[in-house]
């Protein structure tokens, strides 16, 4: 009775403010679209610039439409111009990045799944502290480990190699992957595990038969997070590799900075898009999981 009274007075209230609402809504959309154009502006500029010739760039403005679908700067950015020395292009570095990302994502995700599993389902004394111990690794500024890491890679004989970068990214990914899996597995009822244990199932059997089959969402979140982080990394790439072993972000930066006679902005923009496209595709296809990864470390519960 009281409930219905409340909701009817609520509706009256809504009715009364209909006109103010309409004005407000127009204002709302205006602001939202304004910001949307601010966010979309650089991407738009990148795309149209990459399709223009240098002549068009000098004559038009940032926003002006390209005269046609001119893909030449894309070809140059990807495969070069075909004259030997000094001809830098992204193709080999793109593959370097792939060769680096795939194993690093695999190893760090696997280790994170295992530690997350132990920390929630095989709890031991002091496991909270072990978790905190690992978690702190999420936050250290990497500058504090660059110098010893450079020496260690040298001693191991894997400095300036893709293998070295795989090691670095695997290690510094573990705190994040552990956090993701631990927070996911903690909501899986422990009774399931206990029952399985009584039935005589062992450590690995429980993991593969009970936890792994329900882990698809968190695996997707973790893989996307790690893929984005490692693909986009510049600090490790630029510190621990140069020349032919460099990943794509480093190559892109070198390409843009190299001051050959004439600056070719169209090639620069095409290169930037090529370096950004893998993560952008992942984001568009699996945005939900991407956002979950971003926020799950931050907003818990």
């Amino acid at each position: 009775m009281q409930d219905s009274l409340k909701s009817s007075s609520y509706q009256q209230l809504e009715q009364k403010s209909k006109y103010t609402n309409m004005f407000l809504r127009w204002f709302l959309y205006f602001i939202l679209i304004l910001f949307a154009s601010y966010f979309i502006f650089p991407l738009y500029v990148m795309v149209v610039t990459s399709l223009k010739t240098m002549e068009e760039i000098r004559q038009g403005t940032l926003l002006s439409w390209p005269s046609g679908l001119n893909l030449e700067s894309w070809a140059v950015a990807w495969g070069g111009r075909g004259y030997g020395a000094g001809d830098t292009f992204l193709r080999p570095y793109f593959w370097n990045s792939i060769k680096m990302v795939v194993p690093a994502v695999f190893f760090s995700t696997f280790i994170g799944a295992m530690t997350g599993y132990v920390l929630t389902k095989w709890r031991f004394k002091g496991d909270q502290w072990v978790f905190l111990f690992l978690l702190f690794g999420c936050f250290i500024p990497f500058q504090a480990i660059l110098l010893p890491m450079a020496r260690t890679l040298g001693v191991l004989g894997i400095s300036n190699s893709v293998v070295g970068l795989v090691l670095v990214h695997t290690v510094y990914g573990i705190p994040f992957t552990t956090l993701f899996f631990r927070n996911y597995y903690i909501s899986v009822p422990t009774e399931l595990v206990k029952a399985a244990r009584i039935d005589g199932a062992g450590f690995f059997k429980i993991f593969f038969k009970i936890l792994l089959p329900i882990s698809a969402p968190i695996i997707v979140v973790t893989v996307i997070w790690q893929f984005t982080q490692i693909w986009n990394d510049f600090l490790f790439g630029s510190t621990f590799s140069f020349g032919e072993a460099a990943p794509i972000q480093v190559a892109l930066n070198n390409m843009v900075l190299s001051s050959t006679s004439v600056k070719e902005y169209n090639v620069d923009m095409a290169s930037a898009i090529i370096a950004g496209i893998p993560t952008l595709i992942v984001y568009v296809l699996a945005g939900k999981y991407f956002i979950r990864g971003l926020t799950s470390g931050a907003v818990k519960g």
Binding site: Y10, L62, F133, I140, Q143, I145, P175, G202, G276
Partner: protein, 291 residues
Amino acid sequence: MFKWLEKNLPKIVMAPAVGLIGWFVYGFVLWTLYISFTNSKILPKYELWGFGQYEKLWASRKWLIAVDNLLIFTALFLIFCVVIGIILAIFLDQKIRAEGLLRTIYLYPMALSFIVTGTAWKWILNPTLGIQKMFRDWGFENFTFDWLVDREMAIYTIVIAGVWQSAGFVMALFLAGLRSVEDEIVKAAKIDGASLFTVYWKILLPMMRPVFFTSFVILVHISIKSYDLIVALTQGGPGISTTMPALYMTQTAFHKSQVGLSAASAMMMFMAVAAVIIPYLYSELRRENAR
């Protein structure tokens, strides 16, 4: 033997992760700390030298500029990201058409690397062919926007690009926070005659305190570590006017070969991050234990 293995299997599985992090995080930080107390140049030396590197660091004009820039950048980056993030989150929370599309647009920069976006912004902000030319071609003959090559103003171009990259993230955090509030609270307030503005200002935003806290921690963390964006946009220039601590550290270590000094700067960064993160982790853990 087999029994023992079975009993300790969980710990054995944990061992690699704990070992790797122990060595590569804690061990390495301690090594850097130790080196910061030595007079290491190109190669590390191990005899202790006291606080000499720290004295040298805080007497260095470049480091002071870097710290200054960090303070300016952090303050503006925080304010703009949080204000834009909150506005977008609140507006998007009004049952907006095409919300999914707008959200995707606001957040996509987070998927790109700072090198990619820095390259784009560098092109947009360059005075000869970028925004300045666009406005001049539109008839604003005297329009000037050359911050990128202006010593005084270049740091603000980094703010522009940084905010563009991260504001969507704050929006996502606040939107998630607002969505987790019960509808009933808002309805009840409206029946009591509260305007939408009052509902947000007096009721919802104060409830978002944990989200403010989280955003603060994450944004400060991003800004202390910011490196890629500066490399791509200004390389610390014009001159050294946009140097920041992270850039100072790598330049001192790998171009100037002052290993001890760069270790000292790395430790200063480490302490700055720890000062923000440790209270955060402490409160997060307390919240979790309270549940």
